[in-house]
């Protein structure tokens, strides 16, 4: 479910990086505040643990399919939401750098989709609420499965939203959504079960690890701030969304038409216009942004097909340059 660079626009990628950096900075300040330097090596090894554990595929009896751990929820359970979020963010950066799982520009999207929701939505509002009734096998399983389902559903929804907002494909919002959500329901259940098995094993063998954490994390999460920042994120995304929906007469609008019955979202105010202007200013190539995409596309198709020859010639020259460099290096021994 890692978001890749090819699917997003610089605007969506950039705003997600800004949003998640703010969340990372906030979490870092929180950790510094409750300064516990024992946590630093624990975060480091837990990151490596989750990274390695994600690679084991567990077979699901009777189905022939398999699933693996995502880790976001597990990290929050053992490290608390702030340290858990930072640890997940570093895992995602390593995956993007070393394995090209999710791109560098899409990094912010991935931190939001795979890290933010489990640490700041599912863990505090679902997992902790259920576990506060006491540790039992039943509670651990209900809490883990529900939390994993919710964070994966939110993550999948974000993937759809980020893809549609970027406008690099013509996938209609609802079709993509109807495809993504059910798949991630199944993935969420498996992730929840694996997490629950690990937590209940640890609770059975060394309950003090979880009980200590319970005391440690109590009352430290500022619900009000989380709620405010979540509303802010929603408003910001909504701002981009509404500006986008009215300037791009396709895909998203179609789904808005279906769901609300009116073709455009009511956001034609000053805020909306401001974002429109801002986009024109910051866009690298104003002529090529998606505003004109539709009008240009028919003409462009013509040039694209006749361009196959030109493209091959360009690619040929590029490869020749590469070959020449190699030859030059070999003959001159540099």
């Amino acid at each position: 479910m890692h978001m890749s660079d090819a699917l997003i626009s610089p605007l969506v990628g950039g705003s997600m990086i800004i949003l998640t950096s703010a969340a990372t900075n906030y979490s870092i300040n929180k950790i510094k505040y409750e300064y516990d330097d024992k946590k630093i090596p624990l975060m480091g090894v837990m990151g490596a643990f989750v990274f390695a554990a994600q690679m084991i595929n567990f077979t699901i009896p009777g189905t022939g399919s398999s699933g693996h751990l995502g880790g976001g929820l597990l990290l929050s359970i053992f490290l608390g939401p702030y340290a858990g979020f930072i640890t997940m963010a570093t895992i995602l950066l390593i995956q993007a750098l070393l394995f090209a799982d999710g791109g560098l520009l899409a990094y912010g999207c991935n931190v939001l989709n795979l890290g933010f929701y489990s640490a700041f939505i599912a863990y505090p509002f679902i997992y902790k609420k259920i576990i506060s009734k006491g540790y039992s096998k039943k509670n651990i399983f209900t809490a883990s499965i529900l939390s994993a389902i919710v964070s994966l559903q939110l993550g999948a929804f974000s993937v759809v939203l980020q893809t549609v907002l970027s406008g690099k494909t013509e996938l209609p919002f609802t079709t993509f959504l109807l495809l993504m959500q059910p798949i991630h329901l199944a993935i969420g259940i498996v992730e929840g079960i694996i997490t629950a098995f690990v937590v209940s094993y640890v609770y059975k063998v060394q309950p003090e690890i979880l009980e200590d954490k319970e005391k440690e994390h109590n009352e430290k999460l500022n619900y009000k701030k989380i709620l405010v920042s979540f509303i802010l994120i929603t408003a910001l995304t909504g701002g981009i969304l509404s500006w986008y929906a009215s300037s791009y007469p396709d895909g998203l609008e179609w789904s808005i038409l279906k769901t609300t019955g009116s073709e455009e979202l009511e956001a034609k105010g000053a805020f909306h216009q401001y974002f429109g202007k801002l986009q024109e200013k910051v866009s690298i190539m104003p002529d090529y942004n998606f505003k004109n995409a539709k009008e240009n596309s028919d003409g462009k198709i013509g040039t694209s097909t006749s361009g196959i020859l030109g493209s091959s010639a360009t690619l040929g020259v590029i490869l020749l340059i590469g070959y020449a460099i190699k030859r030059f290096k070999k003959t001159n021994n540099v």
């Binding site: 610089p10 024992k38 009896p61 013509e170 198709i301 020259v317």
Partner: protein
Amino acid sequence: MSKLNYSLRQIRFLDECSEGKSLIHRINPIVKILVTLIYIICVVSLEGYEVNRLIPFFLYPVIIISLSDIPIAPLLKRTVISLPFILGIGFLNLLIERNLHGLLIFLSLLIKSILTVLSSLLLIATTGMDNIAKGLLALKVPKIFVLQLMMTYKYILIFTEELITSVNAYELRSSEGGISLKFAGNILGRFFLRVYDRAKNIYNSMILRGFNGEFNIGKKISFANKDIIFLILWIIYFVLIMFFDVVKFFELILGVVT
């Protein structure tokens, strides 16, 4: 299991690559991070149907590969492995848009993926994690984040090896293929407890060696003329190919020749 082995090989491969001494390896990591990011932003800001405009972007990976002597086969293999998700999306789009536009979007998603994946792999292969960390610190990424990144990176190798041993032991004793979901707790839970104990030992040894929350990365990175030239030349090239249709130019030349 194969994934665990594969990841180990991938990390070691990139680590070995980063020890090269080529011109590209010696470029300042901050500059390389910036060039890679600018490159990716330029590539993804092109629209779905502009396949032609993407072709000139191949010059960047081609030049970096030929100058840095990075073996090309493993890089391409990793790039291919990362493609299925994007191909799936492109194919889905093609099902909805069964026309030339859909095909162009499919092609552009494919090319964009190859370009962005190659450029990020080349960044790490020519720079190495230690230098990336230095670059990130210089770019004002918080210290705790970078420290956490490096610790995770260092322990991934150790833990992956340990996990391979556990999985091997399980598979040798099991009659069926794969590990059943119901043993997730036993394998990962046990593994977690080992890791948890290890964190305590690591903390103790860090304290004994004078850890005070600071993160020392050794020699500072410096800028040389070649770094500035590298940065400026690539920016000029990227801006040029964003505004100037190179493919059209070659088409015209071909037209004149024939």
